[in-house]
Amino acid sequence: MYSRAYKTIVSVPPLLWVGTFLLLPYALMLVHSFWLVRDGFIVQQWNLGNYATLFGKPVYLEVLLRTVRIAGSVTLCSLLLGYPLAYYLSFHAGMRKEFLYQLVIVPLWVSYLVRGYAWKTILGSDGVLNGFLQYAHITHEPLGFLLYSPFAVVLMLTHIYTPFVFLPIYAALESIPRPLIEASQDLGATPGKTFFRIIVPLSMPGLLAGATFAFVLSLGDFLAPLLVGGASGTMIANVVQSLFGAAYDWPLGAAVSVCILLLTLSLLLATETLEKRWSFK
């Protein structure tokens, strides 16, 4: 139906643009990771030294483990908040469903920075939470551990990714044919059994998509640690940032980036495979 000229006109510009301004830059990252820095200059000499450093020095592995731990906590917390919320909206909200759905969506449009900043004002040692605790005579001195800790990073990222996790789960729950649930109940299954045998398995693709999203996005975050994490909340992307900045070791920074990139892509690939296996269509 579409002529050859039409197909050429629509394909060539985006292919060229994406090839030049996206594929090439990502390839540059890969290439840099095999170069090295000598006397403050990048030397285009192929070597695996950066990767050797990366896997040889325990400090990088430590930060990576901490990052995975933080991202894992964020994923778990977002699921614990997002799944019940989605379940409530899908099965129990009745007439208010549409309104409540909008209420979950609105914060998605609120600036990342604004929300991070808000947590900073809440958690600080002379912040809102400490003010409240002292006002209510629960504590007598400000608690110093709230801000600038891995806890603060997990809290901030959970706040940001809960609506993200909610969306695919809600979509999955909404697409469950209601007669299935009625059938389960008619055949004598308890509500608990219906939930774990029917609803959870059928919402698995949504749950998986949400979890992957939260994990992958947290994994590469460098702003939350800078904003609320302090030294003990440093994550792997902060290492990249400092290698590209003050430390001026682009090749090593590129090698760390390539590792994050590979980790992210393999996770996404794994999820895609699992989702296909678990989807019931």
Partner: protein, 265 residues
């Protein structure tokens, strides 16, 4: 019976869901409340209502310069991302070419990969071609990264489109060009607006990529970021409240538009 079983009362779950909503909205409420607090961003309860921080904000030239910069970058990014995203969506929907599967995935990478990786990759490219860092490089980064959003939204729109209308148009003697402008584009209007608004909001808010491509002139988030390093003042609460209000206004416009289009359709 089904009505009873699916909207069964669940008091515990209701309480839990309410608590989750409270968690989601708590920071926003705190932020807005303290923008009117005379004594600064901390402490409890907020007392002494004041407009002072908004007045201070009004006279803050650096903030408004940054707002203007952000608006320009966002508008230009919408134009670039929508144009290329529309072509990419048409290509994915209608053309077949070698490497199509790869292209589909490649376009989406900036959406999936951490912003820092996309930002640094683009920085390396900019350094390679020797371009100076400025708002132009920020626009280049936003526009390129957000092609992903445009392509996804518009491809979804194209998939829902009724192909027969285009066929009819071509059969009745319209040129492909006329068919594109008078059938395809009008039918995609809703997806285009949705994608445009989304790209605009994302660009206005972007930091991770901007961080590495910014020159001397700041975008709004980078200006706020810079100030956060010097300390927190309720002036930041005030600008954040305004950003929040603007975002909510933008979503309401979008929902109105969608409701109207759905009604007319």
């Amino acid at each position: 019976m089904s009505a009873v079983s699916t909207t069964r009362r669940a008091p515990l779950l209701t309480v839990y869901a309410t608590a989750v909503f409270a968690f989601i909205y708590l920071p926003i409420v705190v932020l807005v409340a303290y923008s009117f607090n005379r004594d600064g961003v901390g402490g409890f309860p907020p007392r002494h209502f004041t407009w002072h921080w908004y007045q201070q904000l009004l006279g803050d030239a650096a903030i408004w310069d940054a707002v203007l910069n952000s608006l320009i970058v966002a508008a230009a990014s919408v134009a670039l991302a929508l144009t290329l995203g529309l072509l990419a969506a048409l290509a994915l929907d209608r053309a077949s070419f070698p490497g199509k599967a790869l292209f589909r995935r490649l376009v989406l990478l900036p959406l999936i990969l951490p912003g820092i990786i996309t930002g640094l990759s683009l920085l390396m490219f900019v350094v390679l071609v020797g371009a100076p860092l400025s708002l132009l490089t920020v626009f280049f980064g936003h526009g390129t990264a957000l092609i992903s959003v445009a392509t996804t939204e518009l491809f979804a729109g194209l998939q829902k489109l009724d192909r027969q209308q285009e066929e009819a148009s071509l059969d009745l003697g319209a040129t492909p060009w006329q068919t594109f402008w008078r059938v395809t584009l009008p039918n995609l209007k809703l997806s285009l607006i949705a994608a445009g608004l989304l790209i605009f909001t994302l660009s206005m808010d972007e930091i991770a990529v901007t961080f590495f491509l910014i020159g001397r002139d700041n975008t709004l988030p980078m200006e706020i970021w810079g100030r956060l390093r010097q300390g927190m003042t309720p002036e930041i609460n005030a600008i954040s409240t305004l950003i929040f209000a603007a975002s909510v206004a933008l979503i309401s416009i979008w929902y109105r538009l969608r409701a109207r289009t759905l009604r007319d359709a």
